[in-house]
């Protein structure tokens, strides 16, 4: 391993500009003549729009124009779409309601935009927005997914009965029912997977610039996948032909899924820029972010696990109602279906599984993928069921897991996924050693002497990452392929630019991707630049989400590097006057086998471009190669997290005292960055388990609409994590990588809740398990005071 190659903890190249305030985020980009968009948003969760009067607003100082949904329709700007088709069990297609970028006749959640003011300054825009008169006829609202399908629930979209988008299922119900009938033990749980607000540090932003001279539109925006944004905005929304629209996602400050989607604001900015013939910028404030960023999770589930007398799992069944909010966001349909139910086998050999999912509309913000996207929900169901079953049957929870682990690969689960490798016993064993599970009983006694109830919780999770083989996802309804692209451009001086379809918004691609190139070409890491996020520079790509940039994005780079090596060997053969087959490439040097003749990588690059050693008939000049890599399978990162915590008997406050994470991510490029990803994921998962929860009141008002009421995890809420690794290489991509971005958020909620319920001796507690909630649970149990 070189100091900058694969496996080296290289400091992040991008951090200098970030920590010195020199990052260039969308809001940092300014264009001459720039105007500002201020949205007029509905204060009501559900209302008919009787009229909109913009006349007073238009006369306000600094106002250039005030635009409404009616004009949007006149200009034939298309609706926002959901790009993954799900069919109900009766074969009918999902019911996607119209989602105009500006509501014209009806609003369906608080924050729904009904008009936009284009003004010289934000302050002038806000002054004018207050003068837009909207006459609403307020309607009753429904916010609870469990109530959305009731007969008397208000109908949100015309022609969509019972607010039901689809009623989907997966698995063989008959087999599962038979297994349950024969089971010695059945564990049942009611689970709410709480709704979360993503809260990336950088709020969403968009800057649209229409060039009347060329009829070209440029959009800078906070996107995790600028090419997909361009495709959707062009092909479905009809804003401009694809070649007349350039999308640039510059530095992006965190996404966690929420910046995958196409949002109304960027569509409106593009449209408005063309109308007013000036650049139009919108930057969300935090209050708008709470109301309009796609939220995460929000499942209500009843789940059951059937076991035989020895604790061997026979079957699992689950019925989930998934809240998709007021409109179907870009990939919302896939999250509670193919990203969720397909992981209900966990790390276990479960002969049969059946899952039903009803997706519903409510008068709340749209819900879509959020770090983990479906897989945290699945892990929570499986790991809570297994834990409760073990306790009910008097079996040690680690032991019950061991009895059911899959140990032979490949393993076909009953829910589509074919696991290609892993060693679940190894990660459990290592985690138990690191967490000193043997010493837990003594630590529990010690804690009790200080008025604390100590608990220990496991989560042996699995996720499907490296999303995803295009043909496979196409057969499941995806509207796109999920391959990735890379172009490797070797310059005449031997430095290298890699143009990648992946997009970095905190992951450190500029470092890890360069490590791969440095190792492979034997050149200093400083000589490698990673270019991403601009549709005019980079060939079509699919972006970053689903822990795919390593397993898919870097695989494309590997493939392009393979081609570079082949071409460079041809050049070297001419230079060294040897047969191409005799050229060997190692440590940045081309040599002729069995001789001392060699050429450095830089010399070969130069010769590829000056083309003095070969004729055009013999070889094309240049050294630049492209690859589109389509994975052959998902990857299956897995591992074991163990949470140890104390509950203050008097206050119910939970303090996590020890956290052990042992993950199998396959090949690791940069262990420091991987550890950072694990830390961040755990923080978000602990946030979900203990603190975060988006609450709407019965009228559809978001009660947790600011940091004053929505609890984000802070550094002092978390202990120092003990992070370890096991390694089984993924057989499904050339580097053997599995992906690490989501694991922490997927594993951790179940570990926390398993530990709390272990500590206080209850079967179940809802997330977030705040001090107040834990105290209330303790009161119900009338827990005995610690000795």
């Amino acid at each position: 391993m070189s100091a900058t190659g694969i496996g080296a903890p290289v400091r992040r190249k991008e951090d200098f500009r970030f920590i010195t305030g020199q990052g260039q985020y969308t809001d940092d980009v300014t264009r001459p003549g720039e105007t500002r968009a201020v949205f007029v948003r509905s204060p009501h969760a559900h209302a008919n729009i009787k009229s909109i009067d913009v006349s007073a607003a238009k006369t306000m100082p600094g106002v250039i124009d005030v635009l409404t949904g009616a004009q949007l329709a006149t200009d034939k700007i298309g609706n926002l779409i959901c790009g993954w088709m799900i069919h109900s069990k009766d074969g009918s297609p999902m019911k996607m309601a119209a989602h105009p970028a500006l509501a014209a006749t009806k609003v369906n959640c608080v924050g729904d935009a009904v008009a936009v003011v284009i003004a010289e300054t934000v302050a002038q825009g806000k002054d004018a927005a207050e003068k837009v008169k909207v006459d609403y006829e307020v309607l009753p609202a429904v916010v609870d997914p469990a109530k959305a399908q009731a007969k008397d629930a208000p109908q949100i979209h015309p022609d969509i009965a019972n607010n039901t988008i689809y009623q989907w299922h997966l698995g063989e119900k008959k087999d599962v029912d038979a297994a349950f009938a024969a089971a010695k033990h059945v564990t049942k749980l009611d689970i709410v997977n709480n709704r979360l607000v993503p809260n990336a540090m950088e709020p969403r932003a968009a800057l649209a610039d229409y060039d009347a001279g060329t009829d070209n539109l440029t959009l800078w925006n906070t996107s995790q996948n600028p090419h997909v944004a361009r495709l959707v905005i062009s092909a479905f929304i009809g804003m401009a032909p694809e070649h007349k629209l350039r999308v640039i996602a510059p530095d992006v400050g965190g996404g966690f899924g929420s910046k995958i989607f196409i949002y109304p604001e960027e569509v409106v900015c593009l449209w408005a820029s063309r109308k007013v013939k000036r650049p139009v910028k919108w930057t969300s404030d935090r209050s708008e972010a709470f109301l309009t960023d796609a939220h995460g999770r929000d499942h209500v589930t009843h789940a059951e696990l059937a076991l035989d007398a020895n604790g061997k799992i026979l079957a699992l069944r689950a019925k989930t109602i998934a809240n998709l909010g007021a409109y179907m966001s870009t990939f919302s349909s896939s999250v509670p279906t193919y990203l969720y139910a397909t992981l209900l086998s966990g790390q276990y050999n479960i002969p049969s599984i059946y899952c039903e999912v009803d997706a519903v509309y409510t008068n709340t913000a749209p819900v879509d993928a959020y770090r983990g996207a479906g897989r945290p929900e699945a892990t929570f169901v499986v790991e809570r069921l297994v834990e409760v079953a073990a306790r009910q049957m008097g079996i040690d929870p680690a032991d019950l897991r061991r009895r059911n682990f899959i140990t032979a690969f490949p393993h076909q689960t009953p829910v589509i996924m074919a696991y290609d490798g892993g060693d679940y016993n190894a990660s459990l064993k290592k985690a138990m050693e690191m967490a000193d599970v043997k010493g837990f009983a003594k630590r529990k006694r010690d804690a009790a002497r200080n008025g604390k109830l100590r608990g220990l919780g496991y989560s042996t999770y699995i996720e499907a990452c490296g999303i995803a083989p295009s043909q496979a996802v196409g057969s499941l309804g995806a509207g796109v392929g999920l391959w990735e692209s890379a172009e490797v451009r070797v310059n005449p001086t031997g430095s290298v630019e890699v143009l990648t379809g992946s997009h970095a918004h905190g992951q450190g691609h500029e470092t890890t991707f360069a490590q791969l190139v440095s190792e492979r070409l034997g050149i200093p890491i400083e000589n490698v630049s990673i270019v991403h996020g601009d549709t005019d520079k980079v060939q079509f790509g699919m972006g970053t989400y689903g822990s795919r940039s390593g397993a898919v994005g870097m695989s494309a780079i590997v493939k392009a590097l393979d081609k570079i090596e082949i071409k460079a060997k041809k050049v070297a053969a001419f230079m060294l006057e040897a047969a191409e087959g005799d050229i060997e490439f190692k440590d940045g040097k081309f040599t002729v086998a069995g001789t001392d003749k060699s050429a450095a990588f830089g010399d070969v690059a130069l010769n590829a471009y000056i083309a003095h050693k070969f004729t055009g008939a013999e070889l094309e000049p240049g050294l630049k190669e492209t690859s589109f890599y389509d994975p052959t399978n998902f990857t299956f990162p897995a591992g074991c997290h163990i949470c140890e915590l104390d509950v203050d008997i008097e206050t119910g406050k939970v303090d996590i005292v020890n956290w052990t994470a042992v993950d199998d991510f396959g090949t690791i490029i940069n262990p420091m960055i991987v550890e950072g990803q694990v830390h961040g994921g755990i923080a978000q998962g602990v946030g979900q388990a203990l603190m975060e929860g988006a609450y709407y009141d019965a009228n559809g008002q978001l009660v947790t609409g600011s940091m004053m009421d929505y609890t984000m995890p802070r550094a002092h809420d978390l202990p120092s994590f003990h992070v370890g690794l096991t390694e089984t290489k993924s057989p499904s991509n050339p580097l053997g990588m599995k992906g690490c971005g989501e694991a922490g958020a997927i594993a951790s909620p179940a570990a926390v809740i398993n530990a709390i319920t272990d500590a206080i001796g209850t079967e179940n507690i809802a997330m977030p398990a705040t001090a107040s909630a834990v105290w209330t649970a303790l009161q119900k149990l009338q827990a005995p005071k610690a000795a």
Binding site: A123, K126, D127, E130, S287, E650, T651, G652, K653, M691, Y695, V703, T704, M707, M708, D709, Y710, T711, M712, T770, A771, S772, W775, T776
Partner: protein, 266 residues
């Protein structure tokens, strides 16, 4: 934020005059409550009277048996005051628990108590020590000052100049932080100064800071956690929201009072 006129007087007298001339004007101390609501356009004062150039409003001084804290003294300066840490560390711990470093470096004692946020920390300390709030017009006992949620005995044009805290031999503050905001979900300040025993609670009451007379009575026998062991306060009149039920808040009052007593005696 809406437009306003910005005034920077250099004396309390000028500031009072400006307030008199601008009936919907607001004093700007640390600004950590006022500026956020102005930014959200929830408040639109026509005039802001900034007190930061007024001389003599800052500082912590020991004056005989009391500690005098200027109204514009920043939370961080109170928390770090060696004078205060020497004579009454229990009071110094109160501003140390407020917000984050940014808030503590801007927020002031005068601003905090004039705002009387029902979850703020300083009101508990004022009431829990029997402080005197000194304005440009008069001296007001803490028992008379806090009149309800976001309301005080301050009259139009009245400006807090300083707060005088009697030095108590035993004093401590225990706070259970609101998980999101860091304000007091419940905070309890206890003190003993000769025969004067006080237990003051912030965060819990729907009418703002209050004293727990039943605890104070019980503590007259002995100023110790044991004296109130098993005692509770009723949940009626406690705040209720998504973060805590009235029962939980009432329960926390008793728990935190015991913990504060243990700390005061440590």
């Amino acid at each position: 934020m809406y437009n306003f006129t910005f005034h920077r007087p250099t004396t309390v007298r000028q500031a009072a005059g400006l307030l008199a001339r601008n009936p919907d004007g607001k004093l700007l101390a640390g600004g950590h409550s006022l500026l956020p609501v102005m930014k959200q356009r929830l408040a639109q004062p026509s005039a802001i009277v900034d007190l930061s150039l007024v001389e003599g409003l800052s500082g912590v001084e020991l004056k005989g048996r009391s500690v005098s804290i200027g109204a514009m003294t920043r939370h961080a300066d109170v928390a770090n005051s060696q004078v205060l840490k020497d004579v009454m560390p229990g009071l110094a711990s109160v501003p140390g628990s407020i917000g984050d470093p940014q808030v503590r470096n801007r927020g002031t004692i005068g601003g905090s108590i004039a705002n009387n946020d029902p979850n703020a920390d300083y009101p508990a300390a004022c009431l829990g020590l029997g402080a005197t709030i000194i304005t440009n017009k008069r001296r007001i006992a803490a028992d008379d000052f806090f009149t309800g949620m976001f309301s005080t005995a301050l009259e139009e044009g009245e400006i807090i100049v300083r707060v005088s805290f009697p030095v108590a031999k035993k004093a401590a503050y225990e706070k259970f932080k609101h998980p999101a905001s860091g304000f007091a979900l419940v905070g309890v300040f206890v003190s003993k100064r000769g025969p004067d025993i006080r237990v003051a609670v912030t965060g819990a009451g729907s009418n703002g800071v209050f004293r727990v007379t039943s605890f104070e009575e019980a503590l007259k026998k002995r100023f110790a956690a044991k004296s109130i062991e098993g005692m509770t306060i009723p949940a009626t009149g406690m705040n209720s929201d998504i973060h805590a039920s009235p029962e939980y808040r009432a329960h926390l009052v008793a728990v935190l009072a015991r913990r504060a007593l243990a700390k005061a005696n440590a």
